[in-house]
């Protein structure tokens, strides 16, 4: 029988591929795919990365499993040091954190994200959870990787966010340069359909999952975008990466991010 793996696993591999070796990388709370991806990167191509674990602020932990919440003590197993809340935030706003993962219920073509509300505040149609520390940290962290697992229904990648919680490359007050911000903004946007980059501060489609067409992406995307000249399918994961994911995340918390139909997408290897 052939070896198969799921979209959730490939998605985590794509997130992990954005992690560089020897960088300081952080994810916020409520981010199962990013959590698994950071540990995958650390155990494969980025062994020297400094991994700051979610809402535990534990440094380089080696947890036996990923729990369904970001501040369970199981996430600091194997860490010899946990930062204080203040240390993690100071480090981020000072510019010492290289890379952070951020998600959005709405994301625009500049990479601005909305996790505050759908519809106008103060009495919106849907009050979302909120941004945590993203509104401060997105200004100063060197590189942001955005992700969403809700591209296909067409309501996530929008022309304009109802509310800008976290900064992309440009808002109504101007660009990052105009605002005097030191962080580099979003460098990648990974969705369940494909991967965008931001060469001119605007989202550009760079690659697709092999079971997705350019037309499907266009239909699901609310903003205009360029396509990379070498647009093609994503590079398949290695079997060892898939095995690592299954070891890191035996509770499969990563799968909680996907709608059931997306979880039926599997690929041979």
């Amino acid at each position: 029988m052939s070896y198969r793996f799921g979209l959730d696993e490939w998605f985590v591999v794509e997130l992990a591929r954005t992690v560089h070796d020897s960088e300081v990388v952080f994810h916020g709370f409520g981010s199962p795919c990013a959590t698994v991806a950071m540990h995958l990167a650390k155990r494969t191509h980025a062994p020297s990365a400094l991994l700051i674990e979610g809402a535990m602020y534990a440094v380089n932990p080696y947890p036996a499993f990923i729990p369904p919440t970001s501040n369970d003590h199981s996430l600091k197993q194997g860490a010899v040091y946990s930062m204080r809340f203040e240390e993690a935030f100071d480090m981020s706003v000072r510019g010492e954190v290289d890379h952070m993962f951020l998600s959005g219920i709405q994301i625009d073509s500049f990479g601005n994200t909305n996790v505050t509300a759908i519809g106008p505040m103060p009495t919106p149609k849907v009050k979302l959870g909120g941004g945590g520390g993203g509104c401060n940290m997105s200004a100063t962290i060197r590189r942001l990787t955005l992700w969403t697992t809700n591209h296909r229904p067409g309501r996530c990648l929008v022309e304009k966010c109802d509310f800008v919680t976290d900064l992309g490359h440009s808002t109504r007050e101007g660009t990052r340069l105009d605002l005097g911000y030191t962080g580099g903004g979003p460098q990648a946007l990974i969705t369940e359909l494909g991967v965008f980059d931001f060469p001119e501060g605007r989202a550009r489609l760079r690659a697709l999952f092999p079971d997705v067409t350019r037309r499907e992406v266009a239909e699901a995307t609310g903003f205009d975008y360029q396509e990379a000249p070498d647009l093609g399918p994503l590079e398949r994961p290695a079997r060892s990466q898939i095995e690592h994911i299954r070891t890191i995340d035996p509770l499969s918390v990563r799968r909680s991010e996907f709608r059931p139909a997306e979880l039926e997408r599997t690929f041979p290897l």
């Binding site: 199962p32 499993f65 919440t69 369970d72 203040e86 509300a117 945590g132 900064l167 911000y181 035996p250």
Partner: protein
């Protein structure tokens, strides 16, 4: 910003929460699924203390339950919800959407900076970011300032001095010295910046035991101390117990409608005291949550 040297600090929940006048700014300790001051939240609901302005970082059932009870007028937290796992906070969301409370959303580092300003006795501090986002539009009290050295324009924020901080710790002594495990989140900052600190602990122990574990919040910051076993349930309080995901999930389901939230509150809050609450949860379930140390498999099993 209170120094509390008295030897007669309230030691029961009713007297402790009576220190909170309606309309108070209340800081909530802990965060997300860990060390939320739930016994105090339940007692505030029993006492019906309303018009509260709650402040904090990323929170969940504490804010959601106070919102369900109609006791919050302003919510100045950076996040309220149950992460990817259990999703949005139903009662909080309903109250915000109807305009029953003002969702004055803030950010973790902004709240931290405002508490630091209060601790340092400063009338403002600059914060990174915020400028260019819509968060600023929710806060007419913020300002802008140009740095005299670099010409960079910062958003500046006023100090945040809560009237009372509610904090839960695993252990403390009778004087109010508290030990908590990392992450402390904002609890140390709240303890200094707030006028009153009402603490619950799972166990009151000897001063020697707290000193050995490490004092994180000293006695002179604490104005009331109450022993409440499992006082953070259904959130975790390590090293004692893991969070009760099943119970959180049951609350989220119940809170999906106002009627469901009302039934839950009658069953688990207003109709019982804390001993009654623990009986409702059941000794076997509570025991199960303390058993996480047995093995990784046991720990994982708690969350299935």
């Amino acid at each position: 910003m209170g120094i509390h040297l008295g030897s007669d600090k309230p030691s029961d929940l009713q007297t402790a929460v009576a220190m909170i006048p309606p309309g108070s700014m209340v800081a909530l300790g802990g965060g997300l699924s860990a060390r939320l001051p739930m016994a105090l939240v339940r007692e505030v609901i029993r006492a019906g203390i309303g018009d509260l302005h709650v402040v904090g970082s990323a929170h969940s059932i504490d804010v959601d339950m106070l919102a369900a009870a109609g006791l919050i007028s302003v919510c100045e937290e950076s996040y309220v919800g149950y992460e990817q796992d259990l999703g949005l906070a139903p009662a909080f969301r309903r109250a915000a959407q109807k305009g029953d409370l003002e969702a004055r959303e803030s950010c973790c580092d902004t709240i931290l900076t405002q508490l630091r300003a209060a601790e340092m006795g400063l009338s403002f501090l600059p914060v990174h970011g915020v400028k260019g986002t819509d968060i600023e539009s929710l806060h007419p009290e913020y300002g802008r300032i140009t740095c005299p050295f670099t010409d960079h324009e910062y958003v500046v924020v006023p100090p945040l001095s809560p009237d009372v901080a509610l904090i839960h710790a695993p252990i403390g002594d009778r004087q109010g010295n508290l030990h908590i495990e990392q992450p402390y989140v904002l609890d140390e900052r709240f303890a200094v910046a707030s006028a009153q600190v009402i603490a619950t602990v799972d166990r009151i122990v000897s001063t020697r035991e707290v000193v050995e574990a490490g004092i994180v919040i000293p006695f002179y910051r604490v104005s009331a101390l109450v022993e409440v076993p499992f006082g953070a349930h259904p959130t975790s309080c390590y090293p004692g117990y893991a969070y009760d995901r099943n119970h959180l999930s049951a609350w989220v389901t119940a809170a999906g409608t106002p009627e469901g939230a009302g039934d839950y509150l009658r069953n688990y809050v207003t109709g019982v005291d804390e001993a009654g609450y623990r009986r409702r949860i059941g000794p076997e379930r509570l025991e199960h949550l303390t058993g996480y140390q047995a093995s990784e498999e046991t720990w994982m099993e708690i969350f299935r």
